[in-house]
C-alpha cells in the first residue's frame, strides 16, 4: 500500500535534516520518496495532508511498566502499546518488575511475542539480579541473546555495591547499561519528599539524600568498572550536579527525567491524592529548576515516563498505603512540548534527541533514518494543538494521572512503524 504524507515539516537532528513543506511517499511501510510527489506517485495512495505538522524519528520511551506477566488487571503488553502509540511512541523499553520478573529468556520471549503484531516495538529490560532480589546476578548473557536492551532491578536499586560491581562488569561484555532506580532502602520507605510539606501533612518523609547516596555510589562504580550506568528518573538537584560532574570526566553515565519530575512539586500532595504519589517522590521547586537546567545543558540525556499503571481501587486509597507511580505515556510528549519546548527550555531538536535519539543510543538500538529504502518509523507532531487531558480517553488500562483536566499545548497526532499507521485515533495497516 502507498501512503503519501503531504506538506510535512521534516526534522531529524542526527541527520541534520530540517526541511519545510516536503512530501514523503511510503510503499509498504518503506520510505520510497522524499520530495515533491508526482501525480503518478499519488495514484492509489492514501493521502494525509500534514500541513503545519512535524514528522520526526519515532519516539522511544525507555522506561515503562507494562505489568504483563502478572498484573494484567493494570496493563497488558497490548494495552500498554496502545497507550504508547496514543502518546506518540513507536517503541518502549519495559521494566522487569513483573511477576515473574524478566530474569529468564522465556519471559523475554513471552513479552516479545505478545508485542510482535503491534505497531510499537517493545524492548524488554532484563532484571539485573535473579528475581530482582539483589543477591545473584541474572543470566545476563541469555537475556541479552533473547533481546533485552539493559538490566535493572527497577523499583529498587541493585542492593549492594558488590553485586552492582558484578552486574556492571558482566553487562559491559554486551555494552548495555545497568539502569538504576537510585534510592537507598534504609533511608527511603516514606510517602513523600522530606520537607516542610511532609511535616505539615504528617506523611512519612523520603529525604532527597536517599537518592543522592545511590547516584554517588553508582557513579563511582561506573568509574571503577567502566560499565555503563543509566540513572533512571532523576529527581534531585544534587543528583543532577553529580551526573554533570561525572560527564565532565567522560564517565559512562547517562540520566533520564520524567515529565512529572520536571513539571510538579511536592505541594501537589496537599490534596492527599494518591495520583501525586510516586517513587522517587515529587521534589521541590529548586529540584525542578535543576531538572530544567540539566535538560538544557545536556546533563539529562533522556525524557522517559516511568509509566506505572495502577488499578483505581489501589490509588483511591490512603496516601501512605497507595502504590507509587502514574500513567505517563499519554501525557509525556505533550508535557514535554508544553513545559520545555513552548517555554523555551529546549529546542525542538533537543526534544527529539531526548525522546528518540539518545534513549536508542543508550540502549544500542538503531535510530530510525529518513532515507529512501528505510522503514518508516515516525512520530507526527502538532506543536500548537491546544487540548485538555481527559483520563477517560487514555488507551492505558489504568487512569491514574495527576494531569487529568490539564490544558496542554502540543501533541502527537500519529505514529508510523512496522507497516502500521496510527493517526487521529485510528489504527490501519499500510
Amino acid at each position: 500500500m502507498k501512503v503519501a504524507l503531504k506538506n510535512v515539516n521534516l526534522i531529524h537532528p542526527e541527520q541534520k535534516i530540517d526541511e519545510k513543506n516536503v512530501s514523503i511517499l511510503l510503499t509498504d511501510g518503506i520510505i520510497s520518496k522524499i520530495s515533491k510527489l508526482s501525480k503518478e506517485d499519488l495514484d492509489g495512495a492514501k493521502e494525509l495532508d500534514l500541513e503545519n505538522k512535524y514528522v520526526v524519528p519515532g519516539f522511544f520511551d525507555m522506561h515503562v511498566h507494562l505489568r504483563e506477566p502478572g498484573r494484567e488487571d493494570k496493563e497488558t503488553v497490548e494495552t500498554g502499546c496502545n497507550s504508547a502509540a496514543n502518546g506518540g511512541f513507536t517503541a518502549v523499553a519495559c521494566m522487569p518488575n513483573t511477576e515473574p520478573a524478566i530474569d529468564s529468556a522465556e519471559v523475554v520471549n513471552f513479552i516479545k511475542e505478545k508485542a510482535s503484531a503491534h505497531l510499537v516495538d517493545v524492548y524488554p529490560v532484563g532484571a539485573a539480579t535473579l528475581n530482582r532480589e539483589g543477591e545473584v546476578i541474572a543470566p545476563m548473557a541469555e537475556l541479552y541473546e533473547a533481546g533485552v536492551v539493559g538490566f535493572s532491578d527497577d523499583g529498587i536499586a541493585v542492593k549492594s555495591a558488590s553485586v552492582l560491581r558484578r552486574a556492571l562488569e558482566y553487562a559491559s561484555m554486551y555494552n548495555v547499561p545497568i539502569i538504576e532506580h537510585c534510592e537507598d532502602e534504609s533511608l527511603a520507605g516514606g510517602a513523600m519528599n522530606e520537607g516542610v510539606n511532609s511535616t505539615m501533612l504528617g506523611l512519612p518523609p523520603v529525604p532527597a539524600v536517599s537518592e543522592d547516596i545511590i547516584v554517588g555510589r553508582d557513579i563511582l562504580m561506573a568509574e571503577y568498572t567502566g560499565g555503563k550506568i543509566h540513572i533512571a528518573h532523576i529527581s534531585t538537584a544534587t543528583a543532577v550536579e553529580m551526573v554533570r560532574q561525572a560527564k565532565k570526566k567522560n564517565l559512562p553515565v547517562t540520566a533520564e527525567v520524567t515529565p512529572h519530575h520536571f513539571t510538579l512539586i511536592d505541594d501537589a500532595a496537599k490534596s492527599y491524592d494518591a495520583n501525586t504519589k510516586m517513587s522517587p517522590p515529587l521534589r521541590t521547586r529548586k529540584d525542578v529548576d535543576a531538572m530544567l537546567e540539566g535538560l538544557k545543558d545536556g546533563t539529562i540525556d533522556v525524557i522517559a515516563s516511568d509509566h506505572a499503571p495502577h488499578a483505581i481501587e489501589e490509588k483511591e486509597a490512603e496516601f501512605q498505603y497507595a502504590p507509587n507511580g502514574i500513567v505517563g505515556l499519554e501525557t509525556e510528549v505533550a508535557l514535554t512540548l508544553s513545559e520545555l519546548y513552548h517555554k523555551k527550555i529546549l529546542t525542538l531538536e533537543q526534544v527529539i534527541e531526548k525522546l528518540s535519539i539518545n534513549p536508542r543510543k543508550i540502549c544500542n538500538i538503531p535510530v530510525p533514518k529518513f532515507e529512501v529504502g528505510e522503514s518508516a518509523n515516525f512520530t507526527i507532531l502538532d506543536l500548537n494543538l491546544v487540548w485538555t487531558v481527559d483520563i477517560k480517553e487514555f488507551k492505558s488500562k489504568s487512569k491514574n494521572s495527576p494531569f487529568d483536566k490539564r490544558l496542554l499545548t502540543g501533541k502527537s497526532v500519529g505514529v508510523i512503524n512496522k507497516r502500521k499507521l496510527f493517526y487521529y485515533d485510528e489504527m490501519i495497516s499500510i
Binding site: 520537607g195 516542610v196 511535616t199 504528617g202 506523611l203 512519612p204 492527599y272 486509597a317 490512603e318 496516601f319
Partner: protein, 306 residues
C-alpha cells in the same frame, strides 16, 4: 457566629475566631459536666459514627461520652486496618456507612489525610480523631482549653512540646492551634525526634530539657510510643529518661511553677517520673475531663451548623 467550616480536619487552617468559639462553648459544657444529670438534648435525632481504624480506648470513650451527653445516637465501628486490606476498600466501607444515613463521622485512622478523603466521599460532618502522624485537633483544643483555664490566657504564653515531635499528631495540632492563638511555641526532644524543617512552622527547637523548663510557662509532654518505631530514634529508654525525662528534681532545680500537660497514657519513669506524674504541676486528669467538654463543643457546633 457559626464555625467557618463544617468539618474539623485539623487546626492548620482554623481561624482564631473558631478556636475561641470552641473553647468558649466548651466552657459552658464544662459546667454541665458538674451537674448531677449530665445530659442535654442538643443533638437529639443526630446519628454519629465513631469510625476507629486504630484502637484508642481513651479518645473513643471521650467522644462517645460527649455524644451521649448531647443525646446523639452513636454507633461504634472499630476495625483493624489489616483486616480492611482484604477485599473491601476503605472507600467502599465509607460508602456503606454513609448509605445508612449518618450525620457525623468521628474518624481515627493510621494514615494521614483520611479525614480529608472522607469529606470527598460522604456528606456527613467529619471530625478528625487522629490521622496518622498528621493532626489530632480535639486533643490540641482540650490542651488549649486546659491551659487557658489554668493560666487565664493563651496569648503571649510560652509553651514547649516535649518528646517525639516527629511522630506525633498531638504536637502538630498544638503547634498550629497555639500559634494561631498567639502563644510562643517551642519543641524539645532528641534531634532524631524533631522534624527537619519544623522551624519553618514558626517554632523554636531546644535540645536541653532544663532550658525548656526554665524558659516556658507550659510543657506539653508527649508519650514516647514504646510500641512503635520510636525506639529506633533513641539509644535506650534509660538514656531518654535521663536526658529528657521530667523529674521532680529537675522541676525543683529550675525552680518555678510550670504547668505540665500530657495527652496520656503516660509512661511512668520515661517521659515523666512517677512523682511528677502524681505531683502538683501536672493537670493530666483535668485534661481528660475537659476533653469531654471540648468534644461536646465541637460536636454541638458542627452538628447544629446545617
Amino acid at each position: 457566629m457559626p464555625l467557618s467550616s463544617r468539618h474539623l480536619l485539623g487546626l492548620q487552617s482554623v481561624p482564631k475566631e473558631d478556636i475561641q468559639l470552641i473553647l468558649d462553648t466548651a466552657h459552658t459544657f464544662r459546667e454541665i459536666l458538674e451537674r448531677p444529670i449530665k445530659k442535654v438534648p442538643t443533638l437529639q435525632g443526630k446519628t454519629i459514627v465513631n469510625l476507629f481504624y486504630e484502637s484508642s480506648t481513651r479518645t473513643r470513650i471521650s467522644f462517645e461520652l460527649a455524644e451521649k451527653r448531647l443525646s446523639a445516637d452513636t454507633v461504634n465501628f472499630s476495625i483493624s486496618e489489616s483486616s480492611v486490606s482484604k477485599g473491601e476498600t476503605f472507600k467502599d466501607t465509607m460508602r456503606n456507612i454513609e448509605a445508612m444515613k449518618v450525620d457525623m463521622v468521628v474518624a481515627r485512622h493510621g494514615a494521614a489525610g483520611v479525614p480529608l478523603f472522607l469529606t470527598n466521599i460522604c456528606d456527613a460532618n467529619i471530625i478528625n480523631a487522629g490521622d496518622g502522624i498528621h493532626e489530632h485537633p480535639t486533643q490540641a483544643l482540650l490542651d488549649m482549653y486546659s491551659i487557658r483555664q489554668k493560666l487565664g490566657k493563651l496569648e503571649g504564653l510560652k509553651v514547649c512540646i516535649v518528646g517525639d515531635v516527629a511522630h506525633s499528631r498531638v504536637a502538630l495540632s498544638n503547634i498550629f492551634g497555639l500559634i494561631t492563638m498567639g502563644a510562643k511555641v517551642s519543641v524539645c526532644g532528641p534531634s532524631t525526634m524533631i522534624p527537619r524543617y519544623i522551624q519553618k512552622l514558626g517554632v523554636e527547637v531546644i535540645h536541653n530539657i532544663d532550658e525548656a523548663i526554665q524558659e516556658n510557662n507550659v510543657l506539653n509532654v508527649l508519650r514516647i510510643q514504646l510500641e512503635r518505631k520510636a525506639k529506633e530514634y533513641f539509644p535506650s529508654i534509660r538514656e531518654y529518661a535521663k536526658y529528657f525525662g521530667i523529674t521532680q528534681e529537675r522541676l525543683d532545680k529550675n525552680g518555678k511553677d510550670i504547668l505540665l500537660l500530657h495527652p496520656g497514657p503516660i509512661n511512668r519513669g520515661v517521659e515523666l517520673s512517677s512523682e511528677v506524674a502524681d505531683g502538683s504541676n501536672q493537670i493530666i486528669l483535668y485534661q481528660v475531663t475537659n476533653g469531654v467538654a471540648v468534644r461536646m463543643a465541637v460536636l454541638y457546633l458542627l452538628g447544629t451548623l446545617n
